[in-house]
């Protein structure tokens, strides 16, 4: 006869609503703290508003609009070649290492191609991350080398 475990006391169920239940005292503190900070910032924001606006407009004058078609073509090419280069010179053994490498490639991309917008860069980073985490690390280098070669051929 198999021994059966006695039924234990029923565990109280935790709903997501109670998990994220608000603490009224903390909510009050947060509201006051953010209000106070806003009041403290107010004079600075007010007194510098015009200068800030003028500064941005002056920067616009010195910033010609980019040729987005060229940027979009350069973007995957740069990303692939940088990842291949980084993988070739690094021994990657874990997902966190790969993750940090991709973050650094994304930073390098920003330095090399400042015209690439932050939004695009984060898209590329998540694309690379997804690709990298789905494939064994050892397969990455040859695959991306082929991809980089294909892109560079297309770019030529």
């Amino acid at each position: 006869m198999t021994k059966q475990n006695p039924p234990g006391p029923e565990k109280p169920k935790t709903s997501s609503a109670s998990l994220f239940a608000e603490d009224p005292a903390l909510e009050r503190w947060l509201t006051d703290a953010f209000d106070n900070a806003e009041t403290r910032d107010e004079p600075w924001l007010e007194s510098t508003a015009q200068a800030f606006n003028a500064q941005v407009l002056a920067e616009l004058d010195s910033e010609p609009l980019q040729n987005k078609g060229v940027t979009r073509l350069r973007l995957p090419l740069l990303a692939c070649s940088m990842v291949v280069g980084a993988i070739a010179t690094t021994q990657l053994t874990s997902a966190p290492e790969l993750s940090s490498l991709l973050a650094s490639v994304s930073g390098d991309l920003a330095a090399v191609a400042p015209e690439i917008e932050a939004v695009e860069l984060s898209t590329v980073e998540s694309w690379l991350r997804g690709l990298a985490l789905q494939l064994p690390t050892l397969l990455m280098a040859p695959l991306l080398a082929v991809a980089a070669w294909a892109f560079s051929t297309a770019a030529d």
Partner: protein
């Protein structure tokens, strides 16, 4: 809580349309309408550092100018600018590292040395940047969890969890502060 998008400063469609045609006067009006919210948000992310906040705010509006034709109008202009500001902050954080360290060692040391501190920027400095951003968008700007998820480009569950953990951390520090006060 009512939707922040509903309470958003209304950006007249004419201004958006003209800005999309790269009309600088219209874009200047758009800056006037939203600079306060964007700079205020970045000020909290940068832990009260005016110079860093304005540097990133400037890059935010420059990126908005470059990408204005991508604004589809399915959300508010303010939320779209907040999304760009968050991305620009992320970029600056990666490039400048120590300035935007995940947990500011100086703030942490200050908070430990002075357990009575209840300065918001010092306490926000103890939170990791995504938690700092989520809490600020929620508590200071009134965005819902769903709206914050769209702005930070994170799953809804992650946003709820970030805000929950941030509040637990703040409560723990404030409770300790109360205990040390006479």
């Amino acid at each position: 809580m009512s939707s922040a998008a509903q309470e958003d400063v209304e950006t007249p469609a004419a201004i958006i349309d003209a800005a999309k045609r790269h009309d600088k006067a219209a874009f200047s009006e758009l800056i006037d309408l939203h600079q306060r919210a964007v700079r205020g948000y970045l000020l909290r992310l940068c832990k009260g550092d005016h110079a860093n906040a304005d540097d990133i705010a400037q890059n935010t509006f420059l990126a908005a100018w470059r990408n204005i034709d991508r604004f589809r109008g399915d959300g508010s202009v303010k939320a779209w600018l907040m999304q760009i500001a968050t991305n620009e902050f992320r970029m600056a954080w990666r490039k400048r590292g120590p300035v935007f360290d995940a947990i500011d060692p100086e703030a942490a040391e200050l908070a430990v040395q002075d357990p009575n501190t209840d300065d918001l920027d010092t306490l926000l400095g103890l939170l990791e940047p995504p938690a700092r951003a989520a809490l600020t968008l929620n508590s200071a700007h009134g965005y819902s969890h769903r709206e914050i998820a769209a702005i930070l480009e994170l799953p809804l569950g992650s946003v709820k969890s970030l805000i929950h953990r941030a509040k637990l951390d703040l409560r723990a520090h404030l409770t300790a502060t109360e205990a040390t006060q006479p």
